[in-house]
Each structure stands twice: as structure tokens, then as C-alpha cells.
């Protein structure tokens, strides 16, 4: 029985065929520029760029800042996503709108707004300066910029995860003697863990890509997108595209690694 083929569809489906045509166009639109750029670069040039310390440092900085951002987003975003998934409270839709606001704000605008709070004269920047922490031109500024623009991905993803946990399973735990916090840590969190992990991956990917908010808060130290922009302005397409390909290779491989890890988790459960 195992070797039996699936039954074939009897009727040819024109709708699906036409949808596939549209889908191919979209997929091509995404892949073509990236592949074109990838294959246009001579390997020698990529290797040469990979040996430039300012380029490699910028890529490492991007990876580091994005990773820290993703962890902070998970720690602060998960409670909010649980509240949104389970809580019924007045003005809930307003809170939802606030969560999604960074998606609508132009990122340079976000950067400027963040400066008002985290800049040297801003309410938070002024306080942290006393402890020697400045957000202007430091990795902290980069993280703040990345966090602002990527939080919606974390919150929405984790929220979907919590919503997909059958509420009756949580209620059952309560009738079996679990307190609210035990329900969260023993039931809801483990069951939504894959979605939270996927939120972390999305946040990480979005953070690596961030340019607009970061460049306003911290032109230096340069993250990879800023470095590539600078190379584009000073050295033109040739220099910048080699660095771009390098960043692409690094980000895609980390992205694939994280995806693999989250899917690995899925296949286990």
C-alpha cells in the first residue's frame, strides 16, 4: 500500500496554473536581482573584499548587534505577545496598532525620533550617560535602531504561537493544580516556543538588513549596510557589490542555519 501513487486530479486546474504564473513572476522578481549580483562578481574580488578589515568588521558588528537585538526583542516582546494573545482589555486594538507602528514609520524618521529619546539630551540618553553609556555612534545606538524596526516581527510571530495553543489545554492545567505562572512556563511557552524562535529569526534577519534608523543613530561604527553604502558612494558599484555579495552570503547562511534549527525543533515535536 505504501508504494501506491497519489490519485491524480481529474480536471486540469486553470486557476492554479494562472496563479502559478503570477507566483513565478514574484519569485523571479525576488531572486533575479540577487542571483544576478551574485554571479556578476568575480570570486577574486569577493575574496579580496573579504580580506579588508573594515568590511569584515562591519559584517561582524552587524551579526553581533542583530543577535543581541533578537535576544532583547524575545525577552521584552514575548510577555506582550502573550498579553495580546490571551488578554481581553479595553483599547486592545490601540495596543495592537502601537505594536505595528514601526512597520509604517519610515526608518530614517524612526532614527530621528529615537535620537530625541536616546540622544545626549534625550530623557534616556541623559541618564545613561552618567553610567558611561551613549547611544550616539555606539553599538547601543545600533541595537536601539534595529530593535525599534524589528519588534513587530517578534511580537506578531510569538503572538500567533500563543494563539495556536488550545486554550483548553491551559485551562486543563489550571484544574490540575497549576498556577497562572506554571501554566505559562510549563504549557504555553514550550508549546509556542517554535513561533517564538521563528520570531527571533525574523527579528535577526530584519535587524541585519536595517539601514535607515541605524545610519541616523550611528554612522560609526559602521554596520555592513552602512559600509556598503559608503563603498557605493566612494568606490562605485564595483567595490560595493563585492561587499554586498559577501554580506548576502553571510546573512543567508546564518538565516538558513536558524531556519534549520527551528525546523529541527518542529520535526521533533
Amino acid at each position: 500500500m505504501k508504494n501506491m501513487l497519489n490519485s491524480k486530479r481529474i480536471h486540469f486546474n486553470w486557476l492554479f496554473l494562472s496563479f502559478w504564473l503570477f507566483a513565478m513572476i514574484i519569485l523571479g522578481f525576488i531572486l533575479l536581482p540577487l542571483l544576478e549580483m551574485l554571479f556578476e562578481q568575480p570570486i577574486g574580488l569577493i575574496l579580496k573584499v573579504a580580506q579588508m578589515p573594515d568590511v569584515t568588521n562591519s559584517i561582524l558588528l552587524s551579526l553581533e548587534a542583530s543577535f543581541i537585538t533578537a535576544i532583547i526583542a524575545a525577552i521584552f516582546g514575548t510577555p506582550l505577545s502573550y498579553i495580546l494573545a490571551r488578554g481581553q482589555f479595553p483599547y486592545k486594538s490601540l495596543v495592537e496598532a502601537i505594536v505595528n507602528l514601526p512597520l509604517a514609520v519610515p526608518h530614517t524618521v524612526a532614527g530621528i525620533a529615537l535620537l530625541f529619546v536616546f540622544g545626549r539630551t534625550g530623557p534616556i540618553g541623559r541618564i545613561t550617560q552618567n553610567f558611561g553609556i551613549s547611544f550616539w555612534g555606539t553599538i547601543f545606538g545600533i541595537i536601539v535602531g534595529m530593535l525599534f524596526v524589528s519588534l513587530p516581527y517578534m511580537v506578531n510571530s510569538a503572538r500567533l504561537g500563543f494563539e495556536s495553543v488550545d486554550i483548553r489545554i491551559e485551562k486543563a492545567a489550571r484544574t490540575l493544580g497549576a498556577s497562572n505562572s506554571q501554566v505559562f512556563f510549563h504549557i504555553s511557552l514550550p508549546l509556542a516556543f517554535r513561533s517564538i524562535l521563528s520570531g527571533i529569526v525574523l527579528t535577526y534577519a530584519r535587524s541585519i538588513a536595517e539601514f535607515g534608523a541605524v545610519i541616523i543613530l550611528a554612522y560609526h561604527p559602521e554596520t555592513a549596510p552602512v559600509k556598503i553604502y559608503e563603498l557605493f558612494l566612494t568606490g562605485g558599484l564595483k567595490q560595493s557589490s563585492a561587499a554586498a555579495v559577501l554580506l548576502l552570503i553571510v546573512t543567508i547562511s546564518t538565516f538558513i542555519l536558524f531556519r534549520y534549527l527551528t525546523n529541527f525543533n518542529k520535526s521533533r515535536s
Partner: protein, 362 residues
Amino acid sequence: MSFLKVSNIQAKIENFLLKNISFELEKGQILAILGPSGAGKTLLLETIAGFYTPTSGQIYLDDQNITTLPVEKREIGFMFQDFALFPHWTVKENILSPIKFSKKYKKTNFDPEEIIKMLHIENLLGRYPSNLSGGEKQRVALARSLITNPKMFLFDEPMSALDARTREELREELLQILKKLSLSAIYVTHDHVEAFTLGDLVGIIKDGNLIQVGEKNQIFRKPNSKFVADFVGTENLFSSKIQFIKNISSDLSLIKAEYNQLTFEIYSKEKPSLKDSALLCIRPEDVTFLDESERESHNLKNTITLEVIDIVQIDFYYKIFLRGDISLKAISLKDTIKKYKIKIGEKVNVHIDPESIHIIKD
């Protein structure tokens, strides 16, 4: 006081209102609450379990007022739809989860080993819930609840997702376990077969109101409203005029009621007023057949000749649709159909016992 006493509870959850619900349950009794979907069944159970606090009224369990006690302190087992096992834990981890949640369950009367043995789930312990059949899930969920030594159980349509045959088996098994441990339970369902096989008492709920609650025979034979009559399968309901009332004994009256120029004679404990309209309830199994000789020799009351319109087989019995001065539905077994030569298009004599007609004041 009764073991469980729910007294006049009202609860408002979002836009739904539970209105003045009262009933009592003795130890070891099972109350089946029957109602259409959206009637407030789940809400009522979850209010008793403590997920919602009633806006007024009291709930007493085992002489303790539990109205405002948090869920985990109520000592009430809850069986959810599809049994709500923890999907990321093995059967063993599921069963022992109460002990993980609270140390107080280490010292209950129930020994986990004994429960596992009693419910025959020794060989499932290493499996995950996704690999269990409906019956196995029920046993695991029961075992998991029993570890907490609950004072009573609440069941929220746990079997509604299963097929009819499995449901029947699980019902039987569940009933045995509950009776063996003499556990009180409230079982909520929209399936009246389920309600009447499981419940010692049956309650009917509609739009947040518990319309009628009582011994199951009472609900079955003496529904207090058209809705209840309809819901428990009294398929023949006729609005009639009361023409005559005469007391036969201290609590029994002879009543004559007219419907469509037919006069029914009824022996009833109800006391409708003369000239009032009243709903006559005749259960389809109370419509009996007579052949010509029986009809002449017995000289029975409430005998009518009707035409057979249709005969439909349902499981092992037949539903017979009759039409004439009155339209009736009757239920019979195969041998009755043979004996009285009941065929579509033929005329038959039917008889309704005056004691089996129930009257509801309109």
C-alpha cells in the same frame, strides 16, 4: 445540604448571560446538562470550575462555599473537549503533571500506580498524546485528573469529536468508572442519547437559562415546556383546547382535550383550566397499533385510523409517519410492522394510552 449546591448563580461573560441557575447534586450522582450549542453549557461548567466568578449567587461543594475560590483550589476535575492532554508530554508525564504543579497531590488517596492499573494504560506510558486513540485519551485524561483526588468531575462534551460507535463505548466505560468510584459529575452535551444514558438527573439549558432539571424520567415523560418536549424527542406536539375536567382521585383528573375535531382523553396529574389551550405531548413510542379485532374487542379510548405515509429505518427500529385527522410519528420494531401489516399507503388503527399523554399549559 446536598453535595453540590448551585444556588441562584448569575454570570456575565462578554455578552453572554447565565441567569439564576440553581440545582443540587448528591454524592455519586451524575447530572447531564443538555442544550443546543450556544446555550451556555460550557460557560456554566467553567463558572463552577472557577474560571469565572458569578456576579451573584453561591456555589457549595462538600459543605464548603467555593464561589470565589481560585480554580486550582476547588478540587474539581475537568474533562475538556478532545480531553486537552498536554501534547508535548508523554502519557506518563501527563498523568504525573499534577504532582509537578503542586506538592499537595503527592499525598492524595490515589496512588498513581493503582490508577494506571485500574484504567489499563500501563502500556501507553511512553507514548505522546498524538499517538493515542479517543478511548486511550479519555483514560489518560481521567487518570491525570484522578491523581488530584477531585471531589467531583465536570465534563464538557469530551466525546463530541469522536464517531458514534466509539462514543457509545467510551460512555459505557466512563459510566462504569464514575459509578465504581462513586464520583459526582456534571456532563454537558448536545446529544440527548448521551444525556439520558449517562445522567441520573438531566437538566435542559437554553439561552443561559436552566429551563428544567430533574430525574431523567421526569424530564423525559413530563417536560415543562415545548422546548424541552421537543429537545428530548417528543415528536408529536399538538396545541389543543381543554373541554372537560373531572377529578378521579385526589391527584388524578380525567381531561378531555380537542384537537382538529378529535377528542383525546387524558389521565393526568396536571390541572389545566377549562377552555384553556394546552400542549398535548405524545412520544412516538407511545403510539401503538391495533388490528380490527383488537379494536373491536378492547373498546379502547383515543383510537384513530390513519394512513401510513412513510416508513424510515433508523438503526434497528422504524419510524412510521401517519396522516389523517392528525399527523403522528410512531416508532416500532420490525415484528410490529409485520404483525400489523403496516405498509405505505395503507390505513392503520393507532391507539394512545390516556396515561401516556402529557399536558403542558400553554
